[in-house]
């Protein structure tokens, strides 16, 4: 492992008043890493994702992407640099069709300045969008309103939209939460296959330890705003603290995974 890190997070800290949501976070991410982020609700996982993507300003520390600090940049600039994300609750344009959502995402990724005045519906773009939707296994949903399709479809659309910018790093915030147990594996299989093709570096927040063990090459375990374990899955998942607090907590149940994380916001 001699490649330079694509993302370096140093002594990252976030406080909300007296509440410490993250402290002393040090992470080095290398190109093509597959990192699973685990932790109980409120452990600081989403806060971490929010800080890396510019949604939350850290109280201290630094975030460097390809050697440059991205601190203080809003989400749209971070996105344009090549760090994209998906959301725990899928963020789609509910009143538009699935296809329109993706075409808009592609148009915004490809047009700037005056080109934004042009019609986003070029036949090439519509074609690519349909192909992508097919790759994500939701081609048959293309013409349905995004607000009306199933949560699983929305999750995949959310990720497909995040990929419109051809990011170098993709952060997935609980890609399988809120969907049925059977759908989970299908979603992960579809997504990971697509991401492999693109060669994207991936960090994914996940409650399901089976999925983590299966798809992560490396695991970051969060607890109370700190990283308590960082290493290959077999090591990290067997770390005594992780076993006790995270794995042993019974995070496998579907009901649990649908809960939101109030303390993280």
């Amino acid at each position: 492992m001699t490649t330079a890190p694509i993302l370096e997070v140093k002594r990252l800290e976030k406080r909300f008043g007296a509440v410490v949501a993250a402290t002393g976070i040090d992470v080095e991410v290398r190109p093509r890493d597959r990192i699973g982020i685990i932790g109980t609700n409120g452990a600081g996982k989403t806060t971490f994702v929010n800080m890396v993507t510019g949604y939350l300003e850290p109280s201290g520390g630094d975030i460097r992407f390809e050697g440059r600090s991205v601190l203080g940049r809003p989400p749209r600039e971070v996105t344009r640099l090549g760090i994209c994300r998906s959301f725990q609750v899928p963020q789609v344009f509910g009143s538009r069709t699935v296809l329109e959502n993706l075409v808009m995402a592609l148009a915004l990724a490809e047009a700037t300045g005056l080109a934004l005045l042009a019609d986003p519906w070029t036949s090439d773009r519509a074609e690519r969008a349909r192909r992508t939707l097919a790759e994500y296994g939701i081609g048959d949903q293309a013409d349905r309103e995004a607000g009306l399709v199933s949560q699983g479809v929305r999750k995949l659309l959310d990720i497909a939209m995040a990929m419109a910018h051809r990011p170098k790093i993709l952060l997935l915030d609980e890609p399988t939460s809120g969907v049925s147990q059977e759908e989970k594996l299908a979603i992960m299989a579809t997504v990971m296959e697509a991401l492999d093709r693109e060669g994207v570096t991936v960090l994914f927040v996940e409650h399901d330890m089976d999925i983590v063990a299966r798809y992560a090459g490396r695991v970051l375990a969060f607890m109370e705003g700190r990283i308590i374990a960082d290493g290959p899955p077999q090591d990290a998942l067997n770390h005594p603290k992780v076993l006790e607090v995270i794995v042993g907590e019974g995070s496998f149940s579907g009901a649990r995974a649908t809960q939101r994380e109030p303390a993280d916001a």
């Binding site: 989400p75 749209r76 959301f87 963020q91 789609v92 344009f93 075409v103 915004l108 042009a118 986003p120």
Partner: protein, 328 residues
């Protein structure tokens, strides 16, 4: 920023579907030609109604650009009045040319919109509506107390000339109709093209989900700002036309009830098509004319009832009732 999106208000009907739609130029041109042709045929009172409907529709055209993003300005009378007073100042300076007047109204309002936009683009929902109202009332307050501008009475505007040609009294109204139609033609085409572009379509995206827009690398603030300036400019054009049609400007043009009437026409029209404001404004002026003729004391009762009915029963606006817009 936690906006309550005006989903029910701004629900764009299925006709706004972005399949590769036909060019808007031809239907809009046909519409403008029809209006001008109507000018030959209709009686004088109806000509006046057409003129009023056209300048009102220009303001509403701008409002629907905002409405698509879920934003409702309750202060569009500000830009309407700025456009009108721009013509007023020109008239006082002896500049009566139609083109110069329209451009001056557009520029003055657009420039003010650009400045105030830096502030207003931070607001959504009720705060956006009320802050725009506040700005219009500031202007109203200033105009009312400006004795040099005639205070509450305002002042009269010289008749309009067209590149040196000064129509006589009999053809004055018709000339204004041609002017208004041409301006409306240009405005409607510009807005139709804008709404088809990525930036225009971003409106619904902003209304649906601002976080997603930012995470697609686009600036919500910029998108809102552009829409705000477009709306201000069109309101300024509407005001300039109004000043020429009415031949007079006064502070009531900036008053909040005037903004309310614009919003009313917007609700009546819906945001489904650039034709909608023209239809809505025409219906509004006809109701106005009929009501004031037959029961002047109950004009606002009729207006209010129509508005209530529109809100309760036709949330997509009159345009959503057109058969063509019905296809899903």
């Amino acid at each position: 920023m936690s906006a309550a999106p005006s989903a029910t208000l701004a629900a764009a009907p299925a006709s706004a579907r972005p399949t590769r739609s036909r060019s808007p130029v031809l239907p809009i041109t046909i519409g403008a030609v029809l209006v001008i042709a109507a000018g030959f045929a209709v009686p004088a009172w109806l000509l006046t109604i057409l003129l009023f409907a056209l300048f009102r529709a220009m303001v509403v055209l701008g409002l629907i650009v905002l409405l698509r993003a879920g934003l409702v300005s309750f202060g569009q009378a500000l830009y309407f009045a700025v456009g009108a007073y721009a013509v007023g100042f020109l008239s006082r300076a002896g500049v009566n040319d139609a083109l110069v007047r329209v451009l001056a109204g557009a520029l003055a309002a657009g420039a003010l919109g650009l400045v105030l936009g830096f502030l207003l683009r931070r607001y959504r929902g009720i705060f956006f509506a009320m802050l725009s109202l506040a700005f219009s009332m500031i202007l109203y307050g200033l105009l009312v107390k400006s004795e040099s501008l005639g205070s509450t009475d305002g002042f009269a505007i010289h008749a309009t000339t067209y590149a040196g040609y000064a129509p006589d009294r009999s053809s004055e109204r018709f000339a204004l109709l041609v002017l208004s139609s041409v301006v409306a033609w240009a405005g409607a085409i510009a807005v139709a093209l804008y709404l088809r572009g990525t930036l225009g379509r971003l409106a619904e995206a902003v209304r649906d989900n601002e976080i997603r827009v930012e995470y697609l690398g686009a600036s919500v603030a910029m998108a809102v700002h552009v829409k705000y300036v477009i709306a201000a400019t069109l309101a300024g054009v509407g005001g300039a036309l109004a000043a020429m049609v009415i031949g007079h400007v006064d502070p009531a043009m900036a008053y909040w009830t005037n903004s309310g009437e614009f919003v009313f026409v917007m609700i009546l029209s819906g945001s489904g098509s650039v034709f909608a404001p023209f239809l809505g404004a025409l219906v509004f002026e006809l109701i106005h004319a009929v009501a004031t003729h037959y029961s002047p004391g109950a004009w606002r009762i009729i207006l209010g009832s129509a508005l209530l009915a529109a809100i309760m029963f036709v949330p997509g606006g009159l345009w959503s009732l057109m058969p063509k817009a019905r296809r899903s």
